[in-house]
Symmetry: C2
Amino acid sequence: MTSSRRAASISIEGAAVQLSEIATPAALIDEARMTRNIARMQERMGALGVRLRPHVKTPKCIEVARLQEAAGADGITVSTLKEAEQFFAAGFADVLYAVAILPAKLDRVLALRRRGCRLTIIVDSIIAAQAVAAKGRQENHKLDVMIEIDCDGHRSGVDAESDLLIEIGRALGDGASLKGVMTHAGSSYELDTPAALRALAEQERSRAVRAAERLRAAGLTCPEVSVGSTPTALSCASAAGVTEVRAGVYVFFDLVMLNVGVCGLDELALSVLTTVIGHQPDKGWAIVDAGWMAMSRDRGTQRQRTDYRYGMVCDAALNPIDDLLLSGTNQEHGIVSRRDGLADHDLANHDIARRLPIGTQLRILPNHACATGAQFADYHVLTRAGGVQIWRRFSGW
Amino acid sequence: MTSSRRAASISIEGAAVQLSEIATPAALIDEARMTRNIARMQERMGALGVRLRPHVKTPKCIEVARLQEAAGADGITVSTLKEAEQFFAAGFADVLYAVAILPAKLDRVLALRRRGCRLTIIVDSIIAAQAVAAKGRQENHKLDVMIEIDCDGHRSGVDAESDLLIEIGRALGDGASLKGVMTHAGSSYELDTPAALRALAEQERSRAVRAAERLRAAGLTCPEVSVGSTPTALSCASAAGVTEVRAGVYVFFDLVMLNVGVCGLDELALSVLTTVIGHQPDKGWAIVDAGWMAMSRDRGTQRQRTDYRYGMVCDAALNPIDDLLLSGTNQEHGIVSRRDGLADHDLANHDIARRLPIGTQLRILPNHACATGAQFADYHVLTRAGGVQIWRRFSGW
């Protein structure tokens, strides 16, 4: 796997590649922006005195993870065992699999660990803890385990104040190695003021730390306290008691994060290159070759302060075209129309076809970089040196 | 490409494979249901006396297309040139690329045609028609072209009554071969009564036929009249003047089509196999390992008569569990909760963990089969013989 990926990272740097030579639709990374995003988060974690364990589920790309590692990241977070396997094959050995382990997946976890991967799994139930401990005793191999804490009612995890927390720790017993607690303030995506984000970040921190203190008070080991989401990582006032922070989407940022308020428009590093293929002049529509298959069906800005429909329309140089939106999508068709809903003929000129002739390349900034990236098998990276590189990304489980 | 796909079609038939041996999440095809769906559409087209040209963008799977061909389908429809290339490599030579051609993509079209693919392209603008004709003269190779008709204001195409229609036909001139007209009543997805569907099907038919008549009256050739969408194909009262019908999603059907009213629940052939990985008993939630990465972000039933959120929850044998829905998703987490929004404790019993213990396999029927299928690299096919086969599907452009 590794060798084929390496071989696929074709550098066409210096070959004076123009955007017009890239077949559309294509997922473009602006490397300069991404590099700044990586540096920004790493500097912030350095100032807070905590390790950064990036969540690689956003880019699923070895080259991106290498840039994060080079900037100072320590270990990676994954959302699937396939990510663990692919990144381990590329040399990333310290991996946190941040989805509650299903007992049926333990054989795959063990296989990775026996090959040298320092893979940590998480549990949030006694059933899973017992299964992990039983497997550890059966296989004579203690697995590294963190207990997932629910800090905001968002999804999974156990309450920091619950009896269940201690019971899970005890259920692991001598069959596993309790490495710590982890939590994810996923509800941060629903906020959009600095004060609310700061408060949630503090809640995330304090509940994770509290859970660790309760485990320790119960006589259990709990060296690690892992927290994080991009919005809380960029909003927290303190990381006291925290040992590591996880964040993923900050690498690219996206329109959801713009609405949350943790990035500026000039930090959005992922866009979809598309081309105008037709018009409906009476409606003021340009039809482009990026439908939902390219953008994903993610409508994450639908309930936020600004609804960008399927994405913000920019010119090929990534300058926003403020009066337009990618207002609709079918599988391989996108509809670019006026944000105000007016057709151009309402404005007494039918100019959409003149403004955006067939063949015009546009770049669409996506609602949700994780979902849009997942629609592509590779990224076209516009490098700082002015060239284009193709970096593979992978999918699946 | 073909040989690797063939090699990947591993039959484990007869090996008594249980669903519990399939790693989750996985995309399952119920072959018996799919085969009935294929037969139903083919029989209907036979009764109407028209050819069926299935749209392979839904399954993107050679094996599925072979079943359609064996049932009587004549040619295929594709939404990307990659589909054209992949299916041609597998022996499908009669291909309609049903997205308005971008002049920059003509070299790829020509390359396919020179290898023997009878690839037809479509145009809906003078600019594109001129580019196609110029390319044909330059390359001394007349391309087969259809003109796209807008029959319902849904997306692209030209009005059947417009001067533009004739101008496009003339712009092709002697540089291309005008093969006919095609249209797609995409707005049929927004309807949900037999009368409205029948009316739209008639509108689709009559406008396409009218466009062909106008072209012929103008002295242009127009042998083919191609129409279709799954809802209109299953609702039309007449196909007079039509030569072929295109439809895609009928192979699998989905919850959107159930709401439209053109299929029954026992015709939904695609489901996502998932496993319970945790619970939030106080909320009445079971957490499963199918998030939006497995289901897609498609919320196509959101504005229909019944909103199924991210999908209908069934047991492993595909029996619906009527009081539950896949109500929310994150990237690799799904939340199964009560359809009525009540937590089980509101019903004086905390039974979600007892009803759906960790390790329980569920099957989720998706909103939109095209979008959900696209999240997977392969299908696990539950064959009529009781075995399991793995069929590859592909993505990308």
